[in-house]
């Protein structure tokens, strides 16, 4: 009897892990992998696939994970009307396979987006319309994808959220932003010591060295905590974060291993990346969103992207209560803005 219970338990565990399905409906969740070269990458398609409109979410990083957007229900408003595609990129999130950091290139990621669109098109129908929505590093990836018009023709539109297209000016742009906001904060008597320390640190950094650019990025990631009183925090709270890290399907260990690999593999190429001269090639509908207090990828880059792009239909919005992640800070306003854009060009 005991052995029957034991094997019954095992059988149920195996049975319930079966994930094979491609669904068309208003509230679907399909999960499968896409295998390109040695990378085995999980994909979740969630929401309204009946809409025939798929928004492919390109997560941050490099080496981040798409599950954070899904597990924290950051796009639940969009999922009602459209379908979101949450894809862990190669060497990112829960991706499997051999992540060879010696050969890792941005072009691999761009090419992966192509293949993913082909796969989704073959599975969900040739009549499906695709949008790319890239956040942070995903924004850089989106820009790299849409400057190629052949590739961009696969899309109905692109949404760049707190992205960056030029790392060669990063320290000077960040320094200008930190000086401006930091001076105002110091004048108001807020976190004076911290601001003075960070302003001085940035002054000592040199754009010419990889280590200094990485250090500037590390400082930028800390600065958002100094302006918390200016930020809205609608999407999640501390409990949600703890819940996500410990009690969700997100594998914190696997993701950390991948993050280190992707960062090591792409760092050199990323911080010398500058595709500004190619931005004028962008012709598809483009929405560029950024948080006012985003130090990681300053507003300057969003303004420059929307200025240089040749698209007839381009939209720009600064979210005044947001930092690097407006979909968290101003969840409803952000999703509403994206929904309007997608509705217009689907």
């Amino acid at each position: 009897m005991k052995s029957k219970i034991f094997f019954g338990f095992l059988f149920l565990m195996v049975l319930s892990s079966c994930q094979e399905k491609i669904s068309v409906g208003v509230d679907v969740r399909d999960r499968f992998y896409v295998e390109i070269d040695d990378a085995i990458m999980p994909v979740v398609v969630k929401g309204n696939t009946q809409s025939k409109t798929l928004i492919i979410m390109l997560h941050g990083g490099p080496g981040g994970h798409a599950s954070i957007y899904e597990e924290l229900a950051l796009f639940e408003i969009l999922e009602e009307e459209f379908a979101m595609v949450y894809w862990d990129q190669r060497c990112s999130g829960s991706s499997l396979g051999n992540c060879d950091i010696a050969d890792l290139q941005i072009s691999d990621y761009v090419s992966d987006v192509d293949h993913l669109i082909n796969l989704l098109s073959s599975q969900y129908g040739e009549d499906v319309g695709f949008f790319l929505m890239g956040h942070s590093w995903g924004g850089a990836l989106t820009a790299n994808y849409i400057v190629d018009n052949t590739r961009a023709s696969n899309l109905k539109g692109a949404i760049v959220v707190d992205g960056i297209h030029d790392f060669t000016t990063y320290i000077s742009v960040l320094r200008e932003m930190v000086d401006r906001i930091g001076s105002a904060q110091i004048a108001a008597g807020k976190n004076v010591e911290d601001w003075e320390k960070h302003i001085a640190s940035l002054q000592s950094l040199d754009q010419g060295t990889i280590e200094d650019v990485a250090e500037a990025n590390r400082i930028a990631n800390q600065l958002e905590t100094l302006v918390m009183d200016s930020l809205t925090l609608e999407g999640i709270d501390a409990i949600d974060f703890l819940d996500y890290n410990l009690f969700s399907n997100y594998d914190i260990f696997a993701s950390s291993v991948n993050t280190i690999s992707a960062n090591q593999g792409l760092l050199d190429e990323l911080i010398t990346m500058d595709i500004s001269p190619q931005l004028s090639a962008i012709e598809i509908p483009l929405a560029v969103y950024v948080g006012k207090f985003d130090f990681v990828t300053p507003v300057h880059y969003a303004e420059e992207l929307v200025t240089l792009a040749s698209s007839e239909d381009k939209f720009f919005r600064i979210f005044n209560g947001s930092g690097h992640s407006p979909m968290i800070n101003e969840k409803t306003a952000f999703s509403t803005e994206v929904a309007e854009f997608v509705r217009k060009f689907r």
Binding site: F6, F9, L10, M13, V14, S17, C18, Q19, E20, R31, F32, Y33, V34, E35, I36, D37, I40, P42, C91, S94, S95, L96, G97, N98, C99, D100, I101, H115, N118, L119, S122, Q123, D243, N245, L246, F247, S248, N249, Y250, D251, I252, F253, A254, S256, V257, N258, I260, S261
Partner: protein, 197 residues
């Protein structure tokens, strides 16, 4: 909210003590961070036991028992999104038990881990098309370190007791790296003693 998954963790470990050899076995719930519900079992064979008494002959009282043993641990756990994991890990355990039956134990282990991923993968072909295949999982070597406290089921007179243990493991190869993990185990046991005639 998935907080409730923590609340349903309940472990019952049944331990059997068989004669002088004091072999023991256990079975119970196992979880790790992030929560991967599963089961675990072990069989433990003591290798060398040293008993220290205090007091003189007539008033001699047990002070401490230290013990080296070999434990073979089996784990089956489920990661809801990713895989079913199985592990078989021989461990060396060093255990100190005081006169009241409270114990501290720790030890390293090294064994085999296998993950089973029952998922569909679409594999890119040279012509750009995709071929469907099942993903089967990975074979790994797993190295662990465990530390635990509680009551010693083979020495304690009471028929019930408890333990709390925690540990860490590294598993590889995972992609091109090593995958770390930490885990906790805790629960109650009920002793089923079989004394030699």
């Amino acid at each position: 909210m998935k907080w409730y998954s923590l609340l349903i963790i309940f472990i019952t470990v049944f331990c059997a003590v068989q004669g002088k050899a004091q072999h023991s076995w256990g079975a119970g719930y196992f979880s790790s961070f992030p929560i991967n519900p599963g089961i675990q079992g072990y069989y433990e064979i003591p290798l060398k036991t040293e008993t220290i008494y205090q007091g003189k002959k007539k008033n001699k009282q047990l002070k401490q028992i230290s013990e080296n043993s070999i434990r073979t641990q089996f784990m089956a756990y489920y990661n809801a999104e990713n895989y079913l994991g199985l592990a078989l890990i021989p461990q060396w355990i060093f255990r100190i038990t005081n006169a009241k039956g409270y114990q501290l134990y720790f030890g390293p282990g090294m064994g085999y881990h296998r993950s089973f991923t029952d998922a569909v993968s679409y594999v890119l072909q040279p012509d750009g098309s995709f071929e469907t295949k099942k993903i089967n999982g990975q074979n790994n070597i797993i190295v662990t370190a465990t530390v635990g406290v509680g009551t010693n089921p083979t020495i304690r007179k009471k028929k019930t007791g408890y333990y709390f243990e925690m540990g860490g493991s590294i598993r590889g190869p995972f992609n091109s790296a090593i995958l770390p993990a930490v885990y906790i185990g805790f629960g109650a046991y009920k002793k089923i003693a079989k004394h030699e005639k």
